[in-house]
């Protein structure tokens, strides 16, 4: 009996000890090491996913999207858990077009995390995932992300700018309005089962998408300008070209185009700058219209007065020549503008004088940035009048010894079209911002009439579009290379046009540059380009002839 009790007590003791050991272990797990084990369980069962927010869309004035985010995937690999690496290398080369050496370097690296490809198109990534699953490749990680897309191709790419792989604006409007366009990411917590099946999901941080941006650009006019620039670069020795179209009544930029453009397949960072606002050139004879405006506004010239048109004209010992050294019989200002006679405009500028001409040019916005919403805009080159020599004054009359940007030239001509009111050219819609009055409305109308005549009968006639009352002034100027001066074969051609000249609704500036030949003239490049742009705008139904034509009446 005693023996039985002893045995029972022994068993009870053993069981009690085992129970205490279990209790002690439970105490250790549940109390002492609770935090560690809870964190480990959470790490296994819960996933915190940060879903990047969609960047704002950039629209043109008609609501056509120019740049927006599309879904994509970034693909990474956990090299320690990777299976079938040789198949993955093959897949990377075949599906993602990766170089074999690069693929091998990424796949055979030692590490828990290696990016294989960032921002892969959704369809490509899904095909890649399906094939990886089929080939039993494990250890791949797919992160949903966004990728910037441009549905109109490279149209206006230098204005819109680029976005980096991490969603940061790198250039253009994407850089300038990065804070507006970018949103806050959404944070979601997912509870998963051991096999990865989601059990529950809740939003920890709602996030917010980026704000959209609407521009004043008209994608149709932008496309017309780009197509025209591309075609002219294809058929002439021009190295590059740019075109600006403004609504002179509001200062809205309707197109800001250039060619060649940045190509994502063959990236050249230099092409990302919109050179219509970042680069200066000598405007050549396009400046004559503005010099004539200053003289007319001051009442220093009349419609009937004639000037000597002989060439050369000696100014401070320097011979100033007309194009091809051609001499003209005495002619009035209208004919001098139509024939683009340098020696007449020199006389006109001499009457105005350096201080007054400088004052007018400053009022027209030269020598300072226009304030357009693009990074990298330059002020141009306009020296103070006390530094001008007599030759400088003479050269300024036909657009040399000054440096302007295409947007400055367009803004100044827009002021001429807007009855003398200079507006800030802008890419974001809003109230017109007046920068000042350039000249009297009556003076502007008279000079526009003269420039309408120049297109109708003079050097601007290749820009003539019957019925559209196009006015404008062409210009050809040599390019001065820093340290070398004017180098033969480096030429800028330009055309500043508007229509209809009596009440303009469009101002167009087209500029080409070459470094290949001396035989490069505005009459065969910029002037006809401006005409073709106007014609294409009419064909697309964007503008109509201001006068009823004979055909219109009979119809």
């Amino acid at each position: 009996m005693t023996m039985t009790i002893k045995r029972a007590a022994f068993v009870f003791l053993l069981l009690a000890l085992a129970g205490m050991a279990i209790l002690a272990r439970l105490f250790q797990l549940q109390v002492l090491e609770h935090k560690n084990w809870a964190a480990m369980a959470q790490a296994i069962q819960e996933d915190v996913i940060e879903i990047p927010s969609r960047r704002g869309t950039i629209y043109d004035r008609n609501g056509i999207p120019l740049a927006y985010d599309i879904p994509a995937y970034s693909i990474a690999v956990d090299n320690y858990h990777l299976t079938n690496p040789e198949l993955l290398v093959e897949l990377l080369v075949r599906e993602l077009g990766m170089d074999l050496r690069e693929a091998e370097e990424k796949v055979y690296r030692t590490g828990y995390f290696t990016w294989l490809a960032r921002n892969v198109d959704l369809d490509v990534a899904e095909r890649f995932r399906a094939m990886a699953k089929f080939q039993n490749i494990r250890g791949l990680l797919f992160f949903p992300t966004w990728k910037r897309a441009y549905p109109q191709g490279t149209s206006a790419i230098e204005v819109l700018g680029l976005v980096g792989v991490d969603g940061d604006g790198l250039s253009g409007l994407e850089l300038l309005f990065d804070e507006v366009l970018r949103g806050r990411p959404r944070v979601v917590r997912i509870l998963r089962a051991a096999d990865g099946t989601p059990y529950d999901l809740w939003e920890e941080e709602p996030g917010s998408p980026g704000q959209d941006l609407r521009l004043t650009l008209d994608s149709r006019i932008q496309w017309i300008c780009e197509a025209e620039l591309d075609e002219t670069l294809r058929t002439t020795p021009a190295d590059r070209g740019c075109a600006v179209v403004l609504d002179p009544r509001t200062g809205e930029v309707l197109a800001l185009a250039q060619s060649p453009r940045y190509d994502p397949k063959d990236p050249d960072i230099a092409l990302l700058k919109p050179w219509a606002v970042t680069d200066v050139f000598e405007p050549g004879s396009t400046f004559k219209g503005l010099v004539a405006l200053a003289a007319w506004d001051l009442g220093l010239v009349s419609e009937t007065e004639t000037f000597h048109g002989s060439s050369p004209r000696i100014v401070a010992g320097v011979a100033i020549k007309n194009a091809q050294n051609k001499s003209y019989p005495p002619l009035n200002l209208r004919d001098a503008l139509a024939q683009s006679v340098n020696t007449v405009l020199v006389q006109v500028a001499q009457r105005v004088g350096a201080p007054k001409l400088y004052e007018y040019l400053r009022r027209m916005g030269f020598g300072e940035p226009t304030g357009i919403e693009l990074p990298g805009e330059v002020a141009g080159l306009l020296r103070p009048p006390e530094k001008w020599t007599e030759v400088d004054l003479a050269a300024t009359s036909f657009g040399q010894s000054v440096g302007v940007t295409a947007i400055q030239l367009a803004a100044a001509y827009a002021a001429l079209c807007n009855d003398g009111i200079l507006l800030r050219p802008h890419l974001l819609p809003g109230e017109a911002e007046v920068r000042g009055r350039v000249a009297k409305a009556s003076s502007c109308l008279k000079i526009r009439e003269f420039l309408g005549y120049a297109v109708n009968t003079g050097t601007g006639s290749p820009a003539k579009v019957p019925g559209f009352k196009v006015g404008g002034k062409s210009g050809t100027a040599q390019i001065a290379i820093p340290g070398q001066g004017y180098v033969p074969g480096h030429i800028t051609t330009a055309m500043a046009a508007f229509f209809p000249w009596d009440s303009p609704i469009y101002t167009i500036v087209v500029v080409y540059q070459t470094s290949k030949t001396e035989d490069f003239w505005s009459g065969t490049t910029a002037v006809p380009s401006a005409g073709r742009i106007i014609r294409a705008m009419a064909e697309m139904g964007l503008s109509y002839p201001p006068e009823t034509t004979a055909l219109g009446r009979s119809g």
Partner: protein
């Protein structure tokens, strides 16, 4: 006798109470399971919806690309359309009848 009946009633009451507790417990566990399943379904559907909305955006982009100016131009040219060729336009000069009468 009285005490025996009381005991039986007590046992019955305890049994009934036990059954009720067991029933409620079963109901609780069963509904908990249903709830967990519904939560899992909701989570899966939310993720699927996210994926579908991404698919939709991608397809919309493909559609926009297919109707871009550049693509439309290429299609129009393939169909034989092109810009106006001014050299192919001929103007007819119509004589004014009044002048003839004069």
């Amino acid at each position: 006798m009285f005490r025996g009946e009381w005991d039986r009633t007590m046992v019955l009451a305890v049994l009934l109470l036990g059954m009720l507790v067991a029933g409620l417990l079963f109901l609780y566990l069963w509904q908990g399971t249903v709830l967990a399943r519904l939560r899992a379904e909701r989570a899966a559907l939310a993720l699927a919806l996210e994926e579908l909305s991404r698919q939709k955006l991608f397809l919309e982009h493909k559609l926009r690309e297919a109707y871009s100016y550049e693509v439309l131009k290429a299609r129009a040219e393939a169909l034989g359309m092109g810009p106006v060729d001014l050299s192919r336009i001929h103007y007819l000069v119509v004589e004014d009848d009044d002048d003839d009468d004069d």
